[in-house]
């Protein structure tokens, strides 16, 4: 069998397997619409808050009406005691509490120290940060106005107050990439690469496992398997992985309006390299599992650990060194960083050097492992 024959046979076999063609062709597009669904709204909005207003003054009602203008939160009701509201927070029915203490308005006018307290819940940290951040800005705004008004009454020069009220911020927090700070833009950019890897590994390993069970296909048929046949088979599977990656980079990110297209040429080149590494790993797994269904059983539950091991969610700096070392064996580890840098951050090829080297090392490692695993399985069968 020539390498070209092996390539063609592999692609046709993938498309002719009635059970697996769905995985090879349709699963990635389906997941590309299904998985981003929760994140389509991009930023935290509408989370319910309860106001405990023990002051019932114009000032406290002013705070409530300003909260209504904040998109992140929704004032879903009020409670007469802090205990009542805390129970709802503990049970997860609400996301936060705003407590205006008794005599707030009087104390603010007199200059007696007082505070509006905002409670979030650490049981849901993303929501907690959104609530404290957005409500905190509102309360700080009110506090600054109240303080300014009192200082003016006490005789501070009006010009100085005006100047400080109009002064620019002393600190600006500006994202360099993912400019809208979209939660979806961050999650989907990373998970899309994981989806391609997991779906394709399952499909390739299942097909190779089927070949091994049936003593068929390019790798386990009656014909001798040379280096060229293995290369052709890897290339055949890699083509399907490559197309799936291009689908995400070129269509899904654009269609769903996620950050994209930073370095298209680089991303396409890196996709080709990644596809070859994933195809090789798929053959290794298929030859190891030697079973059509095993890959599904093993890989389904591996997705969550793989995502976190890549270091895009929880930083590598905070993970134990042995886990970071183990993570280097997974194509998504250089893959997610590499594609996020190229697609979302517009990195130059020289700036993804660690990812390029990591992925190349994986390609050689898994290419070699595939060669060894296929030969070992064939010897086992003949011996």
């Amino acid at each position: 069998m020539t390498p070209w024959r092996a390539f063609m046979t592999t692609v046709t076999a993938a498309l002719r397997d009635r059970g697996l063609v769905v995985m090879f062709v349709a699963a990635v597009p389906i997941y590309s619409f299904f998985y981003p669904l929760p994140y389509a709204t991009q930023s935290v909005r509408n989370v319910p808050l309860v106001v405990v207003d023990l002051d019932a003054s114009t000032a406290s009602r002013d705070i409530v009406s300003r909260l209504a203008a904040v998109a992140t939160v929704r004032v879903s009701g009020s409670a007469s005691t802090i205990g009542e509201a805390t129970a709802a927070l503990a049970g997860g029915q609400i996301a936060g509490i705003v407590l205006v203490p008794a005599n707030f308005s009087r104390d603010a006018a007199r200059g007696t120290p007082t505070a509006v307290t905002v409670f979030g819940t650490g049981a849901y940290p993303v929501q907690d940060k959104a609530v404290l951040g957005s409500v905190g800005v509102v309360v700080q705004g009110v506090a600054a106005e109240v303080t300014g008004a009192r200082l003016a009454r006490q005789g501070a020069p009006a010009a100085a107050l005006l100047q400080s009220a109009r002064a620019g911020p002393s600190f600006v927090d500006q994202p360099l990439y993912n400019l809208s700070r979209g939660y979806g833009s961050y999650v989907v950019a990373a998970v899309s690469i994981l989806i391609v890897q997991q779906v394709m590994l399952m499909a390739i390993a299942a097909l190779v496992g089927t070949w091994l069970e049936a003593r068929a296909g390019t790798l386990f048929g009656s014909q001798a398997v040379g280096f060229g046949v293995l290369l052709g088979t890897i290339a055949g599977f890699a083509l399907l992985v490559f197309l799936a990656l291009l689908y995400f980079i070129g269509f899904a990110f654009w269609f769903q309006d996620y950050p994209r297209g930073g370095n298209i040429a680089g991303a396409v080149a890196f996709a080709a390299l990644t596809a070859l590494a994933i195809a090789s790993l798929g053959i290794v797994l298929g030859a190891w599992f030697a079973d059509r269904e095993r890959a599904f059983q093993v890989l389904l539950a591996a997705s969550v650990p793989f995502l976190f091991m890549s270091g895009i969610v929880f930083p590598r700096e905070a993970m134990p060194a042995p886990i970071n070392a183990l993570a280097m064996l997974i194509p998504t580890t250089p893959g997610i960083f590499g594609f996020v840098k190229l697609n979302q951050m517009g990195a130059a090829w020289s700036e993804i050097r660690p990812e390029f080297l990591g992925m190349t090392a994986l390609l050689f490692f898994y290419g070699g492992a595939a060669w060894w695993a296929v030969r070992a399985r064939r010897q086992q069968a003949s011996g």
Binding site: G19, L37, P38, Y39, A40, T41, N46, R74, A87, L89, A90, G91, P113, T114, A115, V116, T117, V118, G120, T121, G122, A123, Y124, P125, K129, L132, V135, V146, A156, G168, P169, S170, F171, V172, Q174, P175, L176, L179, Y183, Y186, F289, D291, E293, F296, Q297, L300, A301, S303, V304, M309, F314, A318, M319, P320, I323, K341, M345, G346, A348, S350
Partner: protein, 391 residues
């Protein structure tokens, strides 16, 4: 009362697991290794020393003081001081640093002239969690200097620093996090991911145990070992899965509450009951998925679609209230969405028994409904040998 038929099917199942190391590994060793890995992964709790670059174009004593304060923040490590923003941006794209703090020229002088320029943090929102930590710490460092300067200038109006502080901080915004106040990412991620992983592993194990009888065309032998009764055959089939996963789930609860030292604010027993029910939900869902497909591979594919993606819809990171309607609706059809608030309520929040009971009703429905769907389909399929053996 253990009937001979039930004993027979359990014995057959255990014999199979004894002979098939792969199946035993998927049932027990692989999940255990994953749980340990996930727990270990977040053991640092809070990320510290995240690398940032500082571009100091002011070179004043004030800017050096700011750099010192940033370097002393727990979450930050000032690892580079490139001469220009362009060089710093390349360091971000290359992955050497997560953000750039830019201190503009004449920053200190303009501040004294009462025409302040801002310090700008350019962070990388593609790394959302890291950007949040860096943003908070840099802001705190900048604010600590700004407040000191403000206090010093206010103190000129008399009364010393104490009076100045009183005047400036008459009204404060007091921002507090209740429950897990240190925002330990270990408690957050491990607490949510471990039960989710266990739920997924349990579905996979039960689907595999049940689905392989159809794949291997051994339904007859399986039913025969149970004395011909499908309910008994299913109970016997699920028993090893149930035992392993109940032990593992109680294991993670005791790991959290005991070994890791995060005692439940609510009731340990109610939490354990909830996670036990989640494991029974997993088995019921497996029965439904195999019933719907009578095909091990397809049942596993559906597990991927229905269970493995469940975490994203559950609101564990991105709040459900913020999702679109379709995502909220789909999330409502997933058991983990209903389990999570029950766990967080009993473990971290200290929710009442009433709130727990309220949360358990939908969870129990996830035992009943999949069984009502799956059992009739299975009882039909076991009588149709032509459908067995589908791959």
């Amino acid at each position: 009362m253990v009937t001979p038929g039930l004993r027979g099917v359990i014995a057959r199942e255990l014999r199979y697991l004894g002979q098939q190391p792969w199946d035993l590994a998927l049932l027990a060793w692989f999940p255990m290794a994953t749980l340990v890995l996930l727990l270990w992964m977040f053991s640092a709790g809070v990320p510290t020393g995240l690398p940032i670059a500082v571009v100091d174009q002011d070179h004043s004593s004030g800017s050096r003081e700011l750099i010192r304060r940033m370097a002393s923040m727990r979450g930050l490590a000032v690892t580079a001081q490139p001469p220009s923003l362009e060089a710093a941006r390349s360091a971000v794209r290359g992955g050497a640093v997560y953000g750039i703090v830019h201190i503009p020229a004449h920053w200190d002088r303009d501040h004294l002239r009462n025409a302040p320029q801002p310090v700008v943090l350019y962070d990388n929102a593609q790394f959302s969690l890291v950007a949040g930590i860096i943003g908070g710490d840099v802001r705190a460092a900048v604010n600590s200097m700004a407040v000191e300067r403000l206090m010093a200038s206010e103190a000129r109006f008399g009364g010393g620093f104490a009076q100045a502080a009183m005047r400036l901080n008459g009204v404060q915004a007091d921002l507090r996090t209740l429950f897990n106040p240190s925002l330990s990412y270990e408690a957050y991620f491990a607490g949510m991911l471990l039960p989710a992983a266990l739920h997924l592993f349990c579905v996979i194990a039960a689907v595999s145990a049940l689905g392989r009888e159809f794949r291997n065309r051994t339904v007859d032998a399986w039913l025969a070992s149970a004395g011909g009764s499908l309910p008994r055959a299913l109970i016997g089939k699920s028993a090893p899965v149930a035992v392993v996963y109940l032990l593992l789930s109680l294991g993670i609860v005791t790991t959290f509450a005991g070994w890791r030292g995060w005692p439940p604010a609510g009731s340990l027993v109610l939490w354990m009951v909830a996670i036990t029910v989640l494991m029974f939900v997993s088995i019921a869902i497996a029965i439904m998925l195999v019933g719907l497909t009578i095909n091990l591979r397809r049942a596993l594919s559906l597990t991927g679609f229905y269970v493995a993606t469940g975490l994203a819809f559950s609101g564990f990171s991105y709040p459900r209230a913020a999702m679109g309607e379709a995502a909220q609706w789909w999330g409502g059809l997933l058991p983990y969405t209903h389990y999570l608030p029950v766990q967080q309520g009993q473990w971290l929040g200290g929710a009442s028994a009433g709130a727990w009971a309220h949360g358990m009703v939908p969870l129990l429905a996830f035992v009943a409904v999949p069984l009502l769907v799956g059992l009739p389909l299975l009882s039909r399929a076991v009588c149709q040998p032509a459908r067995w053996g589908a791959r």
